[in-house]
Each structure stands twice: as C-alpha cells, then as structure tokens.
C-alpha cells in the first residue's frame, strides 16, 4: 500500500455532472494524481470499495441499490462527503417525491406514451424504488457537504487540498453555491 490518500467516488441518483465537474480541475489532475489514488470510482473499474480516506457521493438515494452502495462507502471511507445538490437535498430526482411510486411506475411502464408490452419489470437484478428520493444524510452519517449543481472544479480542488494538507475544509463565500 502506498501512503497516498485513497479516494472512492460514486454517483447514486445523480447525473454524473458532479463527476464531470470534478474532472474540470483540468491540469490540476496531474498534481492530484501525485497525491491521491482512486479506489472504487467510474474512472477505475474497481467494483467494491476497500479502505479509503475519502468517499465522494454524488446523487440522492432513490432505490435499494443506492442504499447498499452508500452503506459500502460509509463502512469503508473515513470521510464521507455529500457532493452536489442531489446528495444534499435529493435534488432534481426528488421532484418525484410528490408523485406516488405507483404513479411513477405506471407512467413509465404501463400508461406512458409509446409503451409496448406494458408491464412493471420484476427482474430480481433490478433495484426497487424507495417511496421517495432521500438526501444521503437521512440514510448514513455524513462528514462534509459540497453544495452546488454541480460544485465547481474549484470547490473540489479547495476541499481536497484542504484535506490532503491536513486543514479543516472550508469553502470561501465565492465557492458556496446551491445552483
């Protein structure tokens, strides 16, 4: 094992926009690569989290699989970070929260325009929907929050450099956005 900071990332009920924004740190990626290594993340193909220093969670919790993944991260990451509006308050996916799950599924698989062979999928491989989309802090304990939709590349950079250099993470006013 190297002494590099180990980071895992995932997107639950999110759009990967936060991940894209993370990549927007551009050439600073090279600096980062010298200091950190990635565990489970879309950029590594590692399937399950091992012991990590930081877990970055994008997206809220909309189904049973999200719960499992989130728990895996919580279990393995020293610092669990809610990244982006969806992980913090459910975000756009949570706009379904005033519609019943039944109506959602019926619209998608039964009554929707252009639906052929209408049926609600029952493959055990498919995760089931929760009644609502939940922010991650309502499922597990969360250590830090990086708001934004998405948080800008500078937010990621500021947060990670703070942690790497052993400072208490702090977002200055100009980096704090909810949109």
């Amino acid at each position: 094992m190297s002494d590099k900071i180990r980071i895992a990332t995932t997107s639950l009920a999110g759009c990967f926009g936060c991940h894209m924004s993370f990549l927007d740190i551009d050439e600073r990626l090279l600096k980062l690569a010298a200091l950190v290594e990635f565990d489970r993340s879309p950029i590594t193909d590692i399937e399950h989290c091992t012991n990590c220093d930081i877990g970055l969670i994008e997206g809220g919790v909309c189904n049973s699989e999200n719960v499992h993944v989130l728990r895996e991260f919580r279990k393995n990451c020293k610092l669990l970070v809610a990244v982006g509006a969806c992980s913090i308050n459910g975000g756009l996916p949570a706009m379904r929260n005033h519609i019943s799950v039944e109506d959602c599924l019926n619209e998608s698989y039964i009554d929707g325009i252009g639906v052929e062979n209408p049926q609600i999928p029952n493959d055990p491989e498919l995760p089931l929907l929760l009644d609502k989309v939940y922010p991650i802090h309502e499922i597990v304990k969360v250590d830090y929050y990086l708001p934004g939709c998405p948080p800008s590349a500078d937010v990621f950079w500021a947060f990670l450099t703070d942690v790497i250099e052993g400072r208490e993470p702090n977002l200055p006013y100009e980096l704090l956005h909810y949109d």
């Binding site: 049973s64 039944e102 609600i120 929907l129 304990k141």
Partner: protein, 593 residues
C-alpha cells in the same frame, strides 16, 4: 341555505368580529363550510373569502369538507390514553364500520381524535356534535352506536351520556362557598373603586393562568391608558391538557366569575366584556346565558349597575378548537374573528388589545379570586399562601389516583400532601402545569405549589410506576406540533421536527448522536419561538431528559447512524407492484456490522 346565512349575518350585525360565531352555526347546520357559503359570507360581511378560508382552516372544529351528521371527536389527552382510549377508539371505529379519522361513506358519522377536551377526571372522553361524552366504555359505545345507526336526534339521547360531574374534592377560600350575588360589587362600591384596587394590590393576587402577572398592576396599567373604550376579557379557553377547573368554575361559580369581571370593568372603566369559552365547553353555554340573564335582571349587569352610573355588558364568544387561543393576544385575534395568531409584543393587550383598545385579559380563576378579595379585603387574602404566591390555587388532578377532580390548596402546599389527598400510590412522577409545565420525579415531592417553585395553571397529571415516561413525552410533543399556529419558523417547523426526532428515538431508530440532536433542537425551539407555545413545546422532552437521561440512552442503538424512517416500508409499494419477494426486495434497517 342563502336565507339561513343572510339571517345569521343580520343577527350578528354583519360584523366580521362575529365570524367564528357565524361559522360555528354553519358548521353545525350543514356539517361543513362550503365554497358557496364562503362566497356568500364574503359578500355579506365585506371581507375577502380567503380571510374566511384562513379562519376555517385554522380551527379544528371547522371543516371545508363535510363531516358526518354525527361528528365524533375522541379526546387525545394522555389521561384518556391511560384510561384505554386507544383500544376503545378502535372498538368504536369497528362498531361504526369506519376508519378512525374518516367520514363514513354514507355521510352519517365521522370519528377522529382531538386535543384534550377538558374531561380528564372522567375520561375517556370525547365530543359528539360539540357536546361532551364522558366515561366511555364498550357498553356506552354500543349505546351510542345504536343511537347513531337508528338516527336518533341528539336531543333525544339519554341525558346520562352527556353527564359531566364537577368532582370537587377539596375546598378552601374560594370553593368553600360561592359569594352572594352582588356582594362583591356592593363591597366595591361601598369602599370605592380606587380603594378596591388598593385591596387587590395588597392581596398580591397574580394571574391564575400560569404566567402569574400581578393582577392589580394589569388593571391599573389598563385604566391608565388614554382611551374612550376599554375591554374586559375572561379567558375560558382552558386548553392545557389535564386542566378542567374552569369548566367546574363556570358550571358552579359562574356568578362569582361574572362579578369579578364586572368589578374589573368598574375599576378600569370598561363597558364591554367577553367570556371567551373554549368550543369544548359548549355544554356550559346555555346555563351561562341563564346566569347572565339573571344578572341583567338584577341590575348587576347592563346600564347603571346598582345605580352607580356604571354600564357593563358581557357577551359569551365561543372558540372553535385551537389551543393557542389560550395565549391572550391570540385569544384577542380570535375574538376579532381571525385566526388565533399571537401578536407581536409590545404593545401589550393592556395598551392595545381587542380592536386595538386597552384590554384586560384574565383567567376565570383570577376573576373568581378578585371577587372574593373585593369582599374579604387584600390582607385576608394575602394571609393565605406564601410570600410571592398569595391565596389559594385550584388544581385539576387527573391520572393515576383514586379521586381525580378539583382540589383547592393554599400556595406553598407540598406535592406530597396533594398526592396523599387524592389517593395516589406508587407514583413515578407528576406533570405539573400540563405539557407546557414541568415533569417532576418522585424524588421531588417536597417541592411546593408556588410561583417561586412549581408554577401551574392548574393541570396536575399523576403517573404511577407502571407508566412509561416516553409515552407521555410522545403524546405531549405530538400535541404541540398539532397545535402550533405556524406563525414563526422555529415553532412551525421546529415542533414538527421535534415530533420526527422524538419518534425516531422512541420507535427504536435512534443512534449515537440522536439524543444530542434532539436536545439541540429543543433549545432552538425554546429560545427562538414567538410565543409561549413554542417556548414551552420542548419542556416535556427537556424536563424528562434532565431527569431520566438513561431512558433516552437505552433507546439508542450502538451504531453510528440509522435512518429515521423504515427502509423496508419505503420499498413496499415497489415490491408489491413488481410482485417480488426475493431477498433483494428487502433492505435491512441497519447494515450488518
């Protein structure tokens, strides 16, 4: 329908201050307040329809959708629960073939819970079409169900169903004997108004609603305001769960209460008074009207009272189900025909009260005591009790004891004495002053009834060793969330968050940081809320957390965090629609460690 409303408005001089009175009549006659009614009222009273909707939505006994022709509410006080109300409610619902909280499909009957109806000494209790039913049991429920199914008119029901007992067990200065009609007024006039106010000062009488403001001072402040009009209001919105003394006072000592109001009017120079009677005490309305009529007849009310060139009228205004209206400025708003939202203070009601005129608002018991003081003098009153708490205090005792009812004690009496008198055994603790008061444990029975120690509006609920602390905390916390008026953020959102957070712990979903989070939230609601409701809403949690931290801790799981909702239940709809029952269709509430 239109004619009925037209006449109703006419009778109330088309004044919007009578909105509650008018809406009560419409609700009673049609079982709801329809959109059309609201439009008609809006035109007749010249107020916006939204203003009427805001009133309808604010009060528990007004409804925009039809209730059953027999509209039943079961009292949800902790004492009702302790007497088995929950299983009786289920039995009632089953017998009536409906779901609790629903109106039956045929529209004949509806059944729901309501906040404490002030019958804790004779529960489980409830209301049918506004009238109290007490000492409910299966036999009584069977009778009631039968009367409903046969569509027997309420006035033809056996009177015994509506019997309300006074249950006075201990009398002292005030309850020993009611004053002779007119005696206090005559004494006041003989002595002189200013001299009588002096007597009141010497008596040290403090408001009996619980807050304990000096009564003479309040009257004096009001009388000193420059104004052509002043008002006297008697606060009979006795909504604190566990208290029912005003019910008994207004049933048995109404003359003395009205006399207290009248002498207040004479002293401050008011010509109009109101008795704001909580909706749950509708059964007292007609007898109170009789008492008033009698007083008018005897020239103790009306014009030129006892030929002393003093005019004073008393009108009874009924509430419509809102605990917050016990707060004096909310009560005034309600008297003005509005939602009962507490005002910003200052100005205080003695400066700007009803219709923005100087107004004295006092508790029923305060007026009762004032009338007595006018007769016996301040010294005689001040002799009783202790230093900062003179006179006696009426207690409404309920819960685990042999004789629940009304007790009058000199201030300074120990809790132990009170518990002995009412036959309370194996006591775990007492909720003194109702949910907004304090819970004291059985280590504190030497504490005293006094403003200096245990101040109370009169609610005194006893719990024996078989009771669970968290049951009562849960009941009280839900009560406040239900009764929050919603005006200010910390109370509107905070009381509902308190309910969620407490339920999370009580229902076993709490983990390491949850009690700390609960306490933080308590402090926030307590320190930032607009009025007494929010400022005391966290008391049940705080006072028990202080005394029994281990009970809360024992509910917590030794894990870092657990969701506050049931994960499996959250998957239930999707599971059912996908017709799945495999292991992947379920979630463990907490992760295997």
């Amino acid at each position: 329908m239109k004619k009925f409303i037209q006449e109703l408005c006419e009778k109330n001089n088309f004044q919007s201050v009578h909105l509650l009175t008018i809406l009560r009549k419409i609700q009673t006659k049609y079982f709801f307040i329809s959109k059309e009614d609201i439009e008609i009222l809006s035109n007749l009273l010249k107020i916006e329809s939204t203003q009427i909707i805001s009133v309808v939505e604010f009060y528990s006994f007004f409804h925009l959708k039809p209730r059953g022709h027999y509209d039943i509410f079961l009292s949800d006080s902790i004492t009702d629960q302790m007497l088995g109300q929950q299983s009786l409610a289920n039995y009632f619902a089953k017998k009536l073939k409906l779901q609790l909280g629903q109106v039956r499909d045929d529209g004949l009957v509806s059944l729901a819970y309501t906040s404490c109806t002030g019958m804790c000494d004779q529960g489980p209790a409830g209301l049918i079409n506004g009238y109290p039913i007490t000492q409910l049991n299966k036999a009584r429920i069977n009778t009631i169900v039968n009367l409903i199914e046969t569509q027997t008119a309420i006035q033809d029901w056996p009177r015994s169903i509506f019997t309300v007992n006074d249950n006075i067990y201990k009398t002292d200065l005030l309850l020993h004997q009611e004053i002779t009609q007119g005696e206090a007024l005559k004494a006041t006039f003989n002595r002189g108004l200013i001299a009588t106010l002096d007597e009141l000062k010497q008596s040290g009488l403090r408001g009996r609603g619980g807050a304990g403001f000096n009564t003479a001072m309040k009257w004096q402040f009001c009388s000193e305001e420059q104004s052509s009009e002043r008002y006297v209001v008697c606060n009979a919105d006795e909504g604190e769960p566990g208290t029912f003394k005003d019910r008994v006072l207004l049933n048995k000592y109404a003359n003395q209460v009205f006399e207290g109001m009248t002498l207040c009017a004479a002293i401050i120079g008011a010509e109009q008074g109101f008795l704001y009677l909580r909706a749950e005490y509708l059964h007292l309305y007609s007898s109170l009207k009789v008492v008033l009529a009698d007083r008018y007849e005897k020239n103790l009310l009306g014009n030129n009272i006892l030929q002393k060139n003093i005019n004073f009228n008393i009108e009874i205004r009924l509430g419509a189900g809102a605990y917050i209206c016990g707060e004096e400025s909310a009560l005034i708003e309600s008297l003005e025909g509005k939602p009962g939202i507490p005002r910003n203070r200052p100005p205080y009601p003695v400066v700007e009260g009803y219709l923005n005129k100087p107004t004295v608002v006092n508790n029923v018991e305060t007026f009762l005591a004032a009338a007595k003081i006018a007769i016996i003098g301040g010294q005689a009153f001040a002799k009783i009790g202790i230093k900062k708490s003179t006179g006696t205090k009426l207690l409404s005792i309920s819960g685990d004891c042999e004789r629940a009812g009304i007790y009058e004690y000199p201030f300074g009496t120990t809790i132990r004495q009170i518990l002995d008198d009412c036959g309370a055994k194996n006591v775990l603790g007492v909720q003194v002053g109702g949910p907004s008061g304090t819970f004291i444990s059985n280590q504190e029975f030497d504490r005293r009834l006094a403003f200096e120690d245990l101040a109370t509006g009169g609610s005194f609920i006893i719990f024996n060793q078989q009771r669970h602390i968290l049951d009562l905390v849960k009941n009280f916390t839900h009560f406040f969330a239900h009764e929050s008026c919603g005006f200010c953020t910390p109370c509107r959102v905070g009381t509902s968050l308190l309910k969620k957070q407490l339920d999370k712990i009580v229902d076993g979903h709490g983990s390491a940081g949850d009690v700390v989070a609960l306490e933080e939230l308590c402090q926030l609601v307590k320190n930032y809320s607009h009025c007494g409701l929010g400022q005391t809403a966290a008391n049940p949690i705080l006072s028990t957390l202080q005394r029994y931290p281990e009970i809360y801790q024992s509910k917590l799981k030794a894990i870092s965090y657990e969701p506050g909702f049931d994960l499996n239940a959250s998957l239930a709809t999707a599971r059912q629609l996908a017709n799945r029952d495999d292991s992947g269709a379920y979630l463990a509430q907490v992760e295997d460690e």
